[in-house]
Symmetry: C2
Subunit: 349 residues, 2 copies
DNA sequence: CTGAAAGCGCTTACAG
DNA sequence: CTGAAAGCGCTTACAG
């Protein structure tokens, strides 16, 4: 078996990069001048500025961000905290928002450090902060009780939550799940048929509670009392979902609202096995539309959110905050209600 | 709407951190001594060493890794490159391996920077490298032609591929897909029934080609000629998968081998719609077992890999390489063949 | 065993 | 408008 050894250690000077001193020397100006030409700070004649910029461009000089950071007591890094043990339904969300975050960060010459947290330990985040490696932190979709929040507050580190919290003192950016869910349930309620079941995942996730509020809002708007026996929360395993579906079938509901796509895919399977037609006998909708449902049969009516935009927006707000700009305490992003076959049954029209 | 402004900018000294100078001064020793006590490099009396360590412990001093890095021309960061636009089936893989990478990196006091690449552009990686922000790079599951590899080679940046490449000159760590797939197909071939269909995703992914080789290996071992008309590659959309399944049903195969879980979930759906019993009429196996299939009915026989261990191992090898240690050119990690209901049909026994 | 000094590659008062 | 100098918080020859 062939082995490798890093030979770069020996000829360190093989790929030596050009520094600000080199530029200064070549141009017979001071490092100060070069620095000013680049940063745009401080007075400098347009002439020398152009001269420096031209030289830099031509010789492909890239300032060392680490050194710059040291001098400015900045790192030009932010941390993204994601749960290492999240469940399937959240994964596409993280994937997409991550990309939005990275793009936005890049655009402002920031980089993103990844922190995974397992269970309720914030050891990794603690280490990252102790090491001074980041200027701020993005927390993703949080649990009801989040230790990371406490840590960040105690250390006075700028952070924003990509998600929703009841804590008014923390910056938050989220998709408008509540309004979206309300609108979707209102759509189902348009004929005043209150036989709408709800199946949701763990109540430990704030987002599930928010969605439930949207469901309730819709009933309030329609001035209809929701039937509590049709609501099944904390269905975090497929057997729980299955038994919920069976009860809803027995209850002869006309629709089943799934709080997320994992729930939805199990619901569809169970309905298929029981030979219940969708939407013929029961309509199905999902509060979240991910790639998971892409191949579902039938395609299901769902709320769609732009997670990538969410990530980008969250990142931008953190960066603004870090730079001392004033930012909104809470930002809510839009949604789209997409009607698909799973609610196209015409029997109720 | 309430707004926020970062007040930390004003009282910078509010949360000033203790530096090596503070420690040195407090102990009436030089910074050199403190540095040596911490790093363990250079001669130092056990006495002073303990004294320094005790003080540090007590006063919670954490060296500034950025400054340390500047002095050593290191960053203590590695970059993880993941495709921003990967398809669903890869997401759980990234999620799990990511965690392994982060844990291993943490254990060696390294941190992980996230780089997402879209399409075939390596602009983000280029920026990260130009900015000197990382000591090395982990590339994840690559396409047949990967521009990042060219970039990294040209710049002479240490990197390892978490995946497989035919290029013998790049460090690679991967699950042993080939042997695993071979063993699974051998299991199906144990009764010399060659009616085994294969449905796979895009051939642009190296991993899909590797899996196919495993399939072929098994036939070779059994001295049976595979029937080319039962092999369907490049099924990257569900309609392609569906038509492949239909042809396989017409071909009266006894088994369908799915190259990944997305393929598998579509296959199961189509079989259910066509009222084909699994495993009664057709057995189904998948080459990769992710959370995606967790709720499948019936549970499917599959290869299971430890992606988290893969990530950790990949990270370790990169770190060793960066430090100048000798490492294996290629490392292959094990797998487990898990027999589940989808192949438990007794008709062929 | 220990320390003064130079240096990593930048920025930024301060002085001119 | 420009530059010398000090400084960010470390490390590391070099000398003692």
């Amino acid at each position: 078996m062939e082995t490798f050894r890093n030979d770069r250690l020996k000829d360190r000077f093989g790929n030596k990069k050009i520094t600000i001193s080199d530029v200064a020397e070549a141009l017979s100006v001071s490092k100060t001048t070069v620095s000013r030409a680049i940063s745009g700070k401080g007075r400098i004649s347009e002439d020398t500025r152009q001269k420096v910029l031209a030289y830099i461009e031509e010789n492909d000089y890239k300032p060392n961000v680490i050194a710059k950071g040291l001098a400015q007591k900045k790192t030009y890094n932010i941390a993204l905290v994601i749960p290492g043990d999240c469940n399937l339904v959240d994964i596409p969300f993280f994937q997409n928002s991550m990309q939005g975050i990275c793009e936005e960060a890049s655009a402002h010459d920031y980089d993103v450090m990844l922190v995974t947290t397992t269970g309720n330990s914030s050891a990794n985040l603690e280490r990252m902060i102790a090491n001074n490696k980041v200027d701020g932190v993005i927390l993703s979709r949080s649990m009801i009780k989040d230790r990371n929040v406490d840590l960040l507050k105690a250390q006075n580190i700028p952070f924003v939550l990509m998600g929703t919290s009841r804590d008014q003192n923390i910056l938050q950016v989220d998709n408008d799940h509540r309004t979206g869910c309300s609108e979707m349930v209102s759509f189902l309620l348009r004929n005043k048929d209150a036989g709408i079941g709800l199946i949701g995942g763990s109540k430990n996730y704030v987002v599930n509670r928010t969605r439930k509020q949207g469901y309730e809002d819709a009933f309030k708007i329609a001035a209809i009392e929701p039937n509590q026996s049709l609501i099944f929360e904390n269905c975090d395993r497929s057997d729980k979902i299955e038994s919920a579906v069976i009860k809803l079938i027995q209850g002869k509901v006309s629709s089943i609202v799934c709080m997320d796509d994992v729930v939805c895919s199990v619901v569809l399977q169970v309905l298929a096995e029981k030979n219940i037609l969708v939407p013929g006998q029961i309509q199905v909708v999902s509060f979240y539309d991910s790639a998971l449902l892409k191949n579902s049969r039938p395609p299901v009516t769902s709320l769609v959110f732009d997670d990538r935009a969410l990530g980008a927006r969250t990142c931008r707000i953190l960066l603004q905050y870090i730079q001392g700009e004033e930012v909104e305490g809470r930002t809510l992003l839009g949604y789209k209600l997409v009607i698909r076959e799973s609610t196209e049954g015409g029997w109720y029209v």
